[in-house]
Symmetry: D2
Subunit: 355 residues, 4 copies
């Protein structure tokens, strides 16, 4: 990390970036209110920090020993104020801002009618952003893989419905990209690209998605520690895209016998991640619970823990959903959940100052 002097000139900054490239690394230039900080992307062991410290305009040059630094509080505190959060703006929605943001919609888009009916319902319930799966990651090749599996044309059609539903009901839209070849196609239609839990480690997909410049909704793998999750989020940031919305969606259960939830919602990850990074962190209670009757309680818990919002799967008739029906709630139930979460959000103010 190279910390520039407060009066460093753009030319001096450019010179440092040029010098960094000589050593085979890339540079992340972060300009704050008071000063500019330049992060190094790549293997810092190759960098002679003593040499960099002597360049014009440089205040300090030091090595940071963490697997993630561009997204870390430690790095960003030099350019921003320490407690400042990072807000991802999508249209006029602020993710990570003062109010919880709700993303909802069907697990999988099944038809235009189904999508529009659910979109209307979730909008009325208080949803800000519409979701709908087109490329579904599935454990069995023999299960329904989403409309996108049928071919390029069918994928375009479903994406167009999503776009149209978003416009009609005035919500930005998000869908999952599961493979590199889907990225450009999907980016033509949606406001946010989602990278699912199973693709968390897929660094080539991360790089490809990051380069669309679109905000990335990035979900934690169910077998990943927080440190790994943030380390891989750094792949997105390293491409210059810091519009990253982190999402906790449950980790693997332990023990013999039934855990009664599909995954374990790691609610402590919410405040723990907030101590590490300025990125917003949401929660997906649907996949964590895997059953509809716990969604309300787990949603309230997520907001109480400080999550900046929720991503919830909704269907007007969960019993007939093609995928994951048992974990979907109805628009009416979503409304109850959102209302309660909004009350919880207020009730936890003021936050504690325990350090």
């Amino acid at each position: 990390m190279i910390i520039m002097k407060t009066d460093a000139t753009p030319e001096q900054i450019a010179e440092v970036v040029k010098e960094i490239k000589k050593y085979g690394l890339r540079a992340d230039v972060s300009t704050g209110a008071y000063r500019t900080v330049i992060g190094l992307i790549g293997d810092e062991t190759k960098i002679p920090f003593d040499h960099f410290a002597t360049l014009p305009g440089v205040k300090e040059a030091m090595r940071i020993e963490t697997p993630y630094k561009l997204i870390s509080r430690e790095y960003n505190k030099f350019s921003e104020t320490e407690d400042e959060r990072f807000v991802v703006k999508v249209g006029n929605i602020e993710i990570g801002g003062d109010k919880p943001v709700y993303i909802a919609g069907p697990c999988a888009i099944e038809s235009k009618e189904q999508l529009f009916k659910i979109a209307e319902g979730v909008k009325k319930a208080g949803t800000h952003i519409l979701r709908g799966g087109i490329f579904k990651p599935r454990t069995s090749v023999h299960s329904f893989q989403g409309l996108g599996a049928a071919g390029q044309e069918e994928a375009r059609e479903a994406l167009a419905w999503l776009r149209e539903a978003g416009e009609k009901f005035e919500m930005p839209v998000v869908t999952e990209v599961r493979g590199e070849t889907q990225v450009d196609l999907v980016a033509d239609y949606v406001d946010i690209l989602q990278i699912g839990a199973r693709n968390m480690y897929d660094q080539d997909l991360l790089v490809k998605a990051a380069n669309t410049g679109k905000p990335i909704m990035y979900k934690r793998h169910f077998g990943a520690s927080i440190e790994e999750f943030l380390s891989f989020a750094e792949y997105i940031a390293a491409e210059g895209n810091k519009n990253i919305i982190l999402c906790e969606r449950g980790i693997l259960p332990v023990g013999k016998g039934k855990s009664y939830t599909r995954y374990i919602l790691d609610v402590g990850a919410v405040p723990a991640i907030q101590k590490e990074t300025y990125l917003p962190i949401m929660v997906d209670p649907s996949h964590a619970a895997g059953r509809r009757d716990l969604i309300f309680s787990m949603s309230c818990a997520a907001i109480a823990a400080g999550a900046c919002g929720l991503m919830v799967e909704v269907h007007y008739n969960p019993a007939e959903a093609l995928v994951d029906g048992q974990q979907m709630i109805t628009p009416d139930e979503l409304k109850d959940t959102i209302d309660a979460c909004n009350r919880v959000h207020i009730s936890i103010r003021p936050r504690s100052n325990i350090r």
Copy 2:
């Protein structure tokens, strides 16, 4: 399970119990507002249910195929109304009642002075029940094992302090029993016996503690599924002691690298357990987090998920605590936490009716 007719006489009930014993099993008689249900403790495969169905006063006789039944909603719905919760009363405190109950105190009692100072602090913060460890389960034999380790006399002295502090500050008291030989001693002094996570599977200790008749604060092992947790709680109920307070305190993390919390608070276990049993379920955020700066958020999350209360470790000066100082908060911080939790508790009403 034997369901008696609504007009079954005490003699008929006694006759059924007698008959059960003939087959080498024990009976749990549960008398509700409308009818009596008799649970079987032991191997039901030995029981000729057809024969029992013909006994006078018997309405129905059937086998239940779960590892826990005496504490299950399924069993208790016959004698109680389905949605009725089970409240454990300790003095005038109702655990599992209308308001959250807070248990707080030092991890380990270090001296009379330390205990009284903390007791006073937590009482002012809104605590209902005082905790303090005397027999500490520790990973290393070379670590401080609690004052009880010094001998019987030292243990009695520390227990007397706890009793005295409870009386002075008007709080019932709870401490952990780690081994069978400590049970009778501890039961002489405290209102609630705690069985810690590491002893969750210790069925002989469970039986011994249950037979004191005292309420049992029973913590989930960090490697146990909910099904296992409830199956072992059944050992307590099988002794006729249903004053069981369940406590979630975090399970093992997954993944390589840092999880940033000591354990994973399984917040979904709270509503999941409430669907299985009528027993009250609390949360211990201190052990789950393992760090003080997350206690506030994780406490709010636990109450938002529907927990009936919290157990929190407190020290007026966490830095000088002999055990687990990094996870303790001060009495002032506890007050902020309790105040916020009480607000959260109100904010989640009305609860959802999602089924």
Copy 3:
């Protein structure tokens, strides 16, 4: 699954396949010594099995309720003899045949010289197939990502070295593909495509790699059950490519504190997988152990459990390796390991017939 009569004609088989496609599914035609079996790829709930049972040449038509069937023993027992294993042939090497097969080489190819020096060493030690990483999956974007990260041209150069080393030392070669866009490039140069643990769930990559027709070395994710592992292997088989070499490389450890190995080698997975599928299963002791001093013991254990071979990382000077040096052994140490493993392989004959 459609089981054809022993005297079914090619025309009848073609007719059944055509009929299957009408319902939107794909067909896997498996021709054995005695009869042909047709597997269905896709959602079988759409198929009217009664109707299929009446088609000419069909003996039986039935639904199979497992997430993997094309690779299952259950499916293949109809077309092959039950105990017959499936051998993947690469040049004149038989993986899954009568003798253990050893794959070895550097974790990452660092230079032509390094590669050739190691290739020569491992060949002398008894290695059959040469490995070398060009696209490295890494937790940190700031770590060395393999020579392939530098660009298309550098990747081609490294691939050409690998090809050349394989030819010089008479070993087929294998390298990892980490993203879809690398598949065609890599397939031009190597005999086996490796899909690493972190990409296990990446179904688009599986499909892409399967369609090269090359054998796939497919590694289990560290957070995946065996059922999940085999379910995702089915994505490869569903493309008509059954040249799949499964590889166990260690799963996540449990418990607080040190496990002393990087991952847990699930040695029981070897015989367990053999009961489920006819595919060969290898073991990678290097990633499982994460330390060189346990490679010998864990290799012997893998072969004793019945693994069809090993994949081992080797460097002539582990201390100077750019990636994972602590887990690499030298060619001499590899020779000791291979020699012992070959002795173990003989010592476990005859295998038990315990069912």
Copy 4:
């Protein structure tokens, strides 16, 4: 740790021990061929090592920062030669010696006849030590808990059968103690006390069992890291009983879906533990596999990894066993397993010298 001079007198040693007690700690005196080393049991932070270094006969006084030290190689290398293993002798059986030792018998003793029939069978198969459960740890209070559950008298009767069977077929005997109150009773009858996985953390039971002076067969909990396992083994050693036989019996599986084995046999734990401690480490394939058809392979793997022996559950008719029948093998199958394991044991010599 206090390292005495080679010519230190017994009086000087006694003086050091006395001085240690002044600080509230206990002393472990380990007398080797060349010198005596005194280990400190308790909180070493209370000890002024500078002061101890000046006492007559003391060569060096230093603090060891591990949770286990009395059983560590680091501690014992001063009194013994580094590579020397520690052999636990039971009658004329050497556990941890030159040959694998086999412990076998029924999971639960059901009757005298059942026990004697199995004892005869396992003896013929090559078993050295007879096992048989009397106090069974069970997940459900409604399952068969072993003959010991019926009462003190029934427990004595079953213990006497075990003793008698051992004498008749010339095998030392071992059974599990599940609670403190069973220890003295059991110690009257058996040669080795077993502490099961679920009691691994039960430090009061460890202390009580250690003080019988009998060898302890100590099993790893399924949710414990190796570091925790060894830390708790130290509770036994701290009582002056170092006749500890460690036993790996499988840890919790990961991932969604079926793992196809009941637990994961952590075969890497065998050599990893051998690097940490001089204590012998065995493997229990029966509980790890949870199914009989994998016992042969997993046993061979355990011996190949360097385990000093096996503990296997055997029944002449697994289908009629009251507990865990699905994981038991017959005496004939045990013979095949033992024969193969003995061949494997020879095949892995010479062991590698990889460091």
